[in-house]
Each structure stands twice: as C-alpha cells, then as structure tokens.
Symmetry: C2
Subunit: 249 residues, 2 copies
C-alpha cells in the first residue's frame, strides 16, 4: 500500500519514552512519519518553544493539514487517531469502549512511573544541591540524567526508593487485575491505550527482584502478546538500539 | 431554563482539586450534577473500585446514558464536553483551536504542581519512615495529609522545596508568556482548558513571597477575569467553604 501522505514530523528524544508512545501508534496505523530527536538544550530554544510553549517532547507537526502543531504525548496520539484512524483500528468506535479507553489513557499519564534516586554527592561531575533528586522519568529535561542516576546504589534513603517502587508495583497490579477480566485494558479488542502503556515499562523493569510474569500473570499474557506484534517489534527495536548507543543499555 | 437531564454523579473529594475541575465545567454548561465526596478509605473499597479500578477521584456516572462511567479528571471533562457541549460553548469548534486546547489540557495534567515537604519526624501521630514525603497534591490518597504537612516549616531540605517551587513558577511563566500573546490559553476565546487550570492554583499560591500579578501580569488579567465569572465564583465558593470546614482554610 503506497501512501499519498506527506510524513508527519514527530519531535522526540532518543532515550525517553514519551515520543515513542506516539511512534507506536503512527507505526501501527501505517502513517508515515519522521522521528526527529532533540537534546534538552534544543527543547528550550525559541525555535522549538514556538511550537511547544512548555519546551518538552513530543510535538507533532502535520504538513498534510497546513503544518498543524500538537504537543503533549496524549494530545499527539488523540490527533493522530482522529485524523488517521477513520477505520477505528485503534480508536474504539462504540461509546462505552471509547470512554473506558479515554480513562486508561489519562491514568497512563497521571499514574506514570516516577522514581526517586539519591543524589550522587560524591561526584564532582554533577554537583546537585539536594539530598534527593526526583526523576520524572520520560519527561525530556530529566531523562538525560536518568541512566547516570539509576545506576547509583540507593544508600541514603532506601525507604523512599522502596515507597515509589511499591507505587510502580501497585499500578501494575491495577493493570493485572483489569487484564484478568478483559483481554486488553479497555475491553476485548486492542486499542491505542494498550500501546500507550508499553514504553514506561522500561522504567518499571528497573525495580529489582520482581518476577513479573509470576506476580502479574494476566499482565504477562498482555505484555507478550503486544511485544509480538510486528509494528511494535520494529519501533521497540529502533528505540532500544538508540538507547544502547546513547546510554549503553 | 429547566433541564430534562437527570443529574450526573461526580465522585470527588472535598478538599483536593481534581473533581473541582470537572465541577467547573459542569456548572458552566448548566449540566445538573451531584458532587459526592469520598474519603480515602472509601476510594479503595470494592464498590468504588468497580467504577474506578485505580481507586482515585474523580469519576463521573451518567444516568442519562445507561449509567456510563468515566474516570480520571481529563477523561471526565472530555466526556462532559462531547456529550453536553453541542453548542461549543467551551469545546472549540475549529480544528486548530481544538488541538491547541487538547495540548494545554494534557500539559495541565502532566505539569501539575507537585510539591515536596519534609517528614514531621517529631510527631508521634503520624510516624513516617522517610526523610521526605512526596505530596502529589490533588490526588485523593495524598491530599488528606496535605494541610498537615504544608504547615510544617521546611527545615531539613529547603533546597528540594525550592527546586519544586521554582518548577511551579516556571509553569506559571509558561502560562504568562502564552497569555501575553493570546487572551486565553488556547486563543482568543475562553475554552475548557482555562477552567481546568484554575483549581491547582490553590497549591501554587502556597509558594511564599510571590507577587503574582506583578510577576505574571498577563496571567493576572486572565486569573481575575475567570474568577469574576458567576459560575466559577459559585463553584469556587462551595469548594473554599468545604476546605475551611475540613482543613480550616
């Protein structure tokens, strides 16, 4: 199938998850796009902030509709779906599933996996003034520092770390409970929200000593099924390749 | 104007901001609703989790459409707008404004004002195991503790507090810059996102020593204009009354 569409521009980050959520949706819908990667400093330049006033990624620019600009990952995904998923491949058609999916969409955004790591006081390379650094994983500005911090052994405030690891496990537990009742998050058919929930698991998997599939069997069935999709494999492979080249894993 | 609609149920919390975002939208649209308030423990009961698997507020139940259930504040607002704002009073009709508004909607959710406070080790009433408590303000489970913590003078980690106060000021700065260019966040007409951004300012205003209108003049014009709306005044007054009765301010 050849497409008459001009490629959309997806402004993103090589290692952080947020633009990859949008890439998964575009790829599954066969919408052509070019994933352009920004460094933190570039996100704060006027050229980019004229597109995205918050200076974060992702942003989508669509040359097929006069260069329309949409920012924030959820809004980008909504735009791509409403514009390019007329056949309702990922966007539910019936109202009940539509609103269930919308609820899970926003839960992904509000319940995303944040993590605390202790500040590496001993390094002179990055002198942070606090005892604890809050990493909002996936938001561009913080993500570049993540691989540095995450490898730092938690010594000073392990109870804080474990508090947030427990929150990650609670959220996956909510998913697992839902997936014990329905095949996918919003019902019996796969929707965009299943794809949206994938990228942040690169963070969840850093929680040590969790036997994921044993502890969350319904989640495990869901996870394996999605990872086995051709388009998901393609985007995921590209992302993991970039991550290895930038942060070594 | 009498309405043939049955009142929607809005599950919320008396003091936290999230359900009040939805209340502002419902009120401006003259959609009848009953705001029912839950305590944290009730949110985690099976009866409520059968509506909202994450056990948080808000959730909307609509008896006019077979008891349809939508949860997460953004999803609730989208549902109310698509269902009850056919005249596009708050939901933009033109595509450009629609997607700009959707971007600001998600920025409100992802950029909301989080805050750190030191743990009150000296109290025996609440014995927390950590040096620092992360308060995701507005999310039900954490909010009940907020008024207790916020009055605790930051001694131990003032640099962490100030880091997040700076983030609050950065976000208001992004708003102010936009509002120096356009009358409202998404353009020249008021939309739902302007209303969505109001409630979290009860948190922002806790940052000490900020001359808000002097520092953010365009924001100040916007803020005063919205607070002067009859419906906003009504909902805000109800909320502040409940807050005073529960947490004394």
């Amino acid at each position: 199938m050849s497409s008459p569409l001009k490629p959309l521009t997806l402004w993103g980050h090589k290692t952080g998850p947020n633009s990859w959520k949008v890439a998964l949706i575009l790829s599954e819908l066969n919408v052509p796009y070019e994933h352009k990667f920004l460094e933190l400093a570039e996100m704060k330049e006027e050229a980019y902030e004229s597109l995205n006033p918050n200076g974060r990624v992702p942003t989508v620019e669509d040359p097929n509709f006069g260069g329309r600009v949409v920012w924030e990952s959820g809004a980008c995904i909504d735009y791509v779906l409403e514009t390019y998923d007329k056949e309702h491949k990922l966007l539910p058609k019936d109202e009940t599933t539509k609103w269930t999916a919308r609820s899970w969409r926003d839960f992904q955004m509000s319940g995303k996996f944040d993590r605390y790591v202790p500040s590496p006081k001993s390094t002179s390379l990055l002198a942070f003034p606090t005892d604890l650094i809050y990493i909002r994983i996936g938001q561009g500005p913080y993500f570049g520092q993540y691989s540095f911090f995450i490898n730092y052994h938690p010594e000073k405030l392990p109870s804080v770390i474990s508090r947030y690891e427990n929150e990650i496990l609670r959220i996956v537990g909510v998913m697992d409970k839902q997936l014990s009742k329905t095949t996918y998050l919003a019902g019996e058919a796969m929707t965009y929200v299943d794809l949206m929930w994938l990228p942040y698991f690169i963070v969840a998997f850093r929680v040590p000593d969790v036997k994921w599939e044993e502890r969350f069997p319904s989640w495990g069935r869901w996870w394996r099924g999605l990872q086995g999709r051709e388009k998901v494999e393609g985007v995921w492979g590209e992302w993991m390749g970039l991550r290895r080249s930038v942060i070594g894993r």
